[in-house]
């Protein structure tokens, strides 16, 4: 009835091993740990160059060995001839796991009530069984920062791997306290406050932030002196930002606000990371001089000003990187975090270059999160978060063949693929027999 072309058949053939298993009624493919030898690939290590005809041995969740001739008789061998191995991609800012259906408030768990709630833990609300997680992971994104939103200090973000059935199994070792730096800009079309109202709200929020910071410093020093303090969970958590125990993730976008934020953090003992940074290109030198790393995105976004050149959001990451800022890329997404590789491609095309764009989704975030010894590159001893692809994973034409997270071989299926399998050639079709 319908004509399938050759390319399509080729694609189906490529999927066959996976589909064949998935089509057996009742059978479900689980994430599978084990000893895997990914044989004879081109390994794009990110930190140690590109290695041709090289194999990677995965064991006990780690990258055990990288080399031309690895002997591991008991390992499951996966032939990767003609394929490429990359580290799993890291999305440096998402709401993945915190929301299932955006317009249904019952499923939205990223914004708690109140202006000062740094003790709200994103990790607590991560739904390990969110339908969006397997949808994301087939794109090669293995790790994401999941971030609460809302008031001035809305909560604590957490880095998670996209494998595991409890938040603790998913936790990848980084947390940061989120601050929404008082904004002089507008938050989209729904923000219909007057200029005056915005200015007043801005000043009020800045004063509040200063007061809270001073209180938190006092709280921290009293706690250090062994004082008996009243139960104040918000302050207890926030104090960790003032001592540098937990980094402070400052969401800041407008150029004037970025400058104000640079001033604001001066002289504070905080480990500061900027997030968003939509207008970073306007003040890139100042950010570089302050030595503050940024988690920027979404790359596919509208310019912040009507007068701005159309490609400023595409070029922003590259311009900051060129100025010497350490840049990681985020989607700021939830259901479509799978687009991270394409965002990176746009950044690459509009001035960042492929190599730097790859770093911005691998080793740079790993370094910014203080986890460069575990994540962000293909190196011996690191966590085995790996992807195998038949080409450049930033290209839509490329197929992601395998994904490993924590050394688990992940099933490359999800609800969207299962719907494809069911409905591509529906039975019954137009008419019942």
């Amino acid at each position: 009835m319908k004509r399938l072309n050759k390319t399509f058949f080729a694609f189906l053939l490529a999927l066959l091993p996976m589909m064949a298993m998935a089509q057996i009624d009742g059978e479900f493919i689980k994430p599978r740990p084990g000893k895997f030898l990914l044989q004879n690939a081109t390994v794009v290590t990110i930190t140690k160059g590109v290695l041709n005809n090289t194999s990677v041995l995965v064991e006990d969740g780690k990258i055990k060995e990288i080399g031309a001739n690895i002997s591991a008789s008991d390992a499951e061998v996966i032939d990767c001839t003609g394929k490429f191995i990359y580290p799993g991609m890291i999305d440096s800012g998402t709401k993945l796991g915190l929301v299932e259906v955006s317009s249904v408030p019952e499923t939205v768990d990223y914004a708690e009530i109140g202006n000062f709630s740094p003790n709200m833990q994103a990790l607590t609300a991560v739904n390990p069984n969110s339908v969006a997680i397997p949808v994301t992971r087939v794109s090669g994104v293995t790790t994401v920062l999941t971030v609460p939103a809302g008031g001035l200090f809305p909560g604590t973000a957490a880095l998670i791997n996209l494998n595991g059935y409890t938040p603790d199994q998913m936790y990848a070792g980084f947390k940061g306290i989120v601050m929404n730096f008082p904004s002089s800009g507008r938050r989209g079309r729904f923000d219909r406050r007057s200029d005056d109202d915005i200015k007043k709200a801005n000043e009020k929020a800045l004063k509040e932030a200063n007061d809270l910071w001073d209180n938190a410093k006092s709280y921290a020093s009293m706690a250090a002196d062994g004082a008996e303090l009243e139960y104040y969970p918000e302050m207890e958590q926030f104090a960790k930002a003032t001592t540098g125990e937990l980094p402070l993730l400052i969401e800041v976008n407008a150029a004037a606000d970025i400058q104000a934020a640079i001033k604001w953090v001066e002289g504070k003992d905080a480990k500061v990371i900027f997030t968003g940074v939509s207008e970073g290109w306007r003040v890139a030198d100042e950010i570089a001089k302050a030595g503050i790393p940024v988690l920027t995105g979404p790359i596919q976004a509208l310019p912040t000003r009507e007068s701005d050149r159309y490609d400023t959001p595409y070029a922003n990451a590259g311009k900051m990187a060129k100025a010497g800022v350490k840049v990681a890329i985020r989607t700021n997404g939830q259901e479509n975090v799978r687009n991270l590789p394409f965002f990176a491609a746009f950044a690459a095309a509009y001035g960042m270059g492929k190599e730097e764009a790859w770093k911005a989704v691998t080793i740079n975030p790993a370094e910014i999160f203080g986890l460069a010894d575990q994540y962000g590159s293909v190196e011996t001893g690191k966590v085995a978060n790996l992807i195998v692809a038949d080409g450049d994973p930033f290209e839509t034409k490329t197929n992601i063949m395998h994904v490993f997270i924590d050394g688990y071989r992940m099933p490359l299926s999800n609800r969207q693929i299962r719907l494809y399998q069911e409905f591509l050639d529906r039975s019954p079709g137009l008419k019942m027999n």
Binding site: F8, A201, L302, R305, N332, T396, I417
Partner: protein, 461 residues
């Protein structure tokens, strides 16, 4: 009276000619490009000659006639101008949300040629957009097909005058939310949506009968028959029944799509395109058999409940089942990279280059009823063209130049930072808009009727 009517008609005809005469038509020779014709294959190292806004010749070693500029496109790709079958750019308002049926309102009365988004769309290779009414009504207003002639200040200049009429319909959550939940009137459910449609069309049939009766009575000698009161809303529905208007229906779930197919078949309506159509893949054989296909997102889902059971393989499933399929934006940001959205059908369903490119060129042209004029690089067609650095389906592709009717409206090398045509005199400092994700305007002007996640978020601040 009769004579006066002829005079009016002549005047109208003249004014249309006058209006179209104002639209600039260009001549240009583009040389040595890889020409992606979409309908006639890929031509390596080929030239395209445009004269007075029309593609005159496609071939090799073409020479520029006197006075015609030559552009060397060696190493670059040339494709037809991208067509977005679902957009709200260039419109002052989007929703007339006051009644479940507002067929009488027309977006062409609301066209705003100053919106900088039109230029940004050109910078993404988009030459035509379907400026649609919103989705607050079961039967919404009539849409306008725009040609992105950036720089014109007359709304008539950016309307594609030779495009057929189209109208917006909407099913599911939006109309039931606005009318049922917001205003406490039918429809509150998908049952009510069907009733609104059937009642509306039956009323239009009665209206047509009343006019037919009057027309036949008034032709009798000495007739004293009184004409029925003109009703633009019912006249528009009658025009739909007569096949003069293409329906473009906002829809998500398979059941509601199937419902409208049945309604359309019962009333003999064949000019029907589904928009969004996230669950179109479930009724792909029906869409293929009975409609002009579906215009879908490449990968958007889960932003509301009725799109939770979506798949990014939707476009591929629809295509493989024989439905005309296009990829649209419905968004001021997404419209900037529709070539990339189309490319996603290669990741999700293994579409060929030609299938993927069709989804943003000839297929939306078919759905808008303009495929005889645009949507492919063929001799005789209007010269809406884009030059790309890199294959347009590569994630690294960068549009270089965009032409409408042979006139260059975007050139990456001549792109000025500030492309605004007018600056607000009341604005002391230009506002900074922080991008907060999807800029879908389908429900613009109806926010007051219900709480959105966005408004909750703002209350929180």
């Amino acid at each position: 009276m009769q004579k006066f009517n002829y005079f009016l008609a002549a005047l109208l005809g003249l004014s249309i000619q006058f209006a179209s005469a104002q639209v600039e038509k260009g001549s240009v020779l583009i040389k040595n490009a890889t020409v992606l014709t979409v309908t006639k294959g890929t031509l390596e190292n080929s030239d395209v000659l445009v004269q007075d806004g029309i593609i005159k010749k496609v071939g090799q070693n073409l020479n520029a006639p006197n006075g015609v500029t030559t552009i060397d496109a060696t190493g670059k790709y040339l494709m037809p101008g991208i067509i977005d079958a679902h957009s709200h750019l260039g419109l002052d308002v989007v929703n007339e949300a006051t009644s479940p049926i507002v067929a009488e309102v027309r977006m062409k009365d609301m066209v705003n040629p100053f919106e900088v988004g039109i230029y940004r769309a050109l910078a993404g290779g988009v030459t035509i957009s379907h400026a649609m009414h919103g989705s607050a009504n079961v039967i919404g207003g009539q849409n306008a097909t725009l040609k992105h002639r950036w720089g014109s200040t007359d709304p008539a200049d950016i309307i594609m005058q030779d495009a057929p009429r189209t109208i917006k319909f909407a099913l599911g959550e939006n109309p039931t939310r606005v009318h049922g939940r917001g205003n406490g009137i039918q429809p509150r459910t998908r049952m009510g949506v069907e009733a609104i449609l059937r009642n509306g069309f039956n009323e239009a049939i009665q209206y047509k009968k009343a006019w037919a009766a009057y027309n036949s009575a008034s032709s009798q000698k000495g007739s004293t028959a009184m004409p029925p009161v003109h009703n633009e809303r019912l006249q528009t529905l009658a025009d739909i029944l007569d096949g003069k208007i293409i329906i473009h229906c906002h829809s998500y779930r398979a059941d509601e799509i199937y419902m409208l197919i049945n309604v359309a078949r019962d009333f003999g309506i064949t000019k029907l395109v589904f928009q969004h159509t996230n669950e179109g893949f479930k009724v792909a054989p029906e869409i293929a058999e009975y409609t002009m296909g579906a215009s879908v997102f490449a990968d958007w889902w889960a932003y509301k409940f009725e799109v939770y059971y979506s798949t990014a393989y939707n476009a591929a499933i629809l295509t493989e089942n024989g439905a005309i399929t296009s990829i649209n934006s419905d968004d001021a940001e997404l419209i900037r990279h529709l070539y990339h959205e189309a490319a996603k059908t290669q990741r999700y369903g293994g579409m060929t280059d030609e299938q993927a490119l069709s989804m943003i060129t000839i297929n939306p042209a078919k759905q808008l009823g303009i495929s005889d004029k645009v949507g492919s690089i063929e001799e005789g067609k209007q010269a809406d063209l884009v030059i790309f650095e890199g294959h347009p389906l590569s994630s690294y592709a960068i549009p270089q130049m965009t032409f409408v009717d042979g006139v260059k409206y975007f050139d990456i090398k001549e792109d000025a930072d500030d492309q605004r045509m007018k600056v607000s005199p009341t604005e002391m400092v230009e506002p900074v808009m922080i991008y907060e994700g999807h800029d879908s305007r389908c429900m613009q002007d109806t926010e007051s009727l219900f709480e959105t996640t966005e408004s909750l978020f703002l209350l929180n601040q």
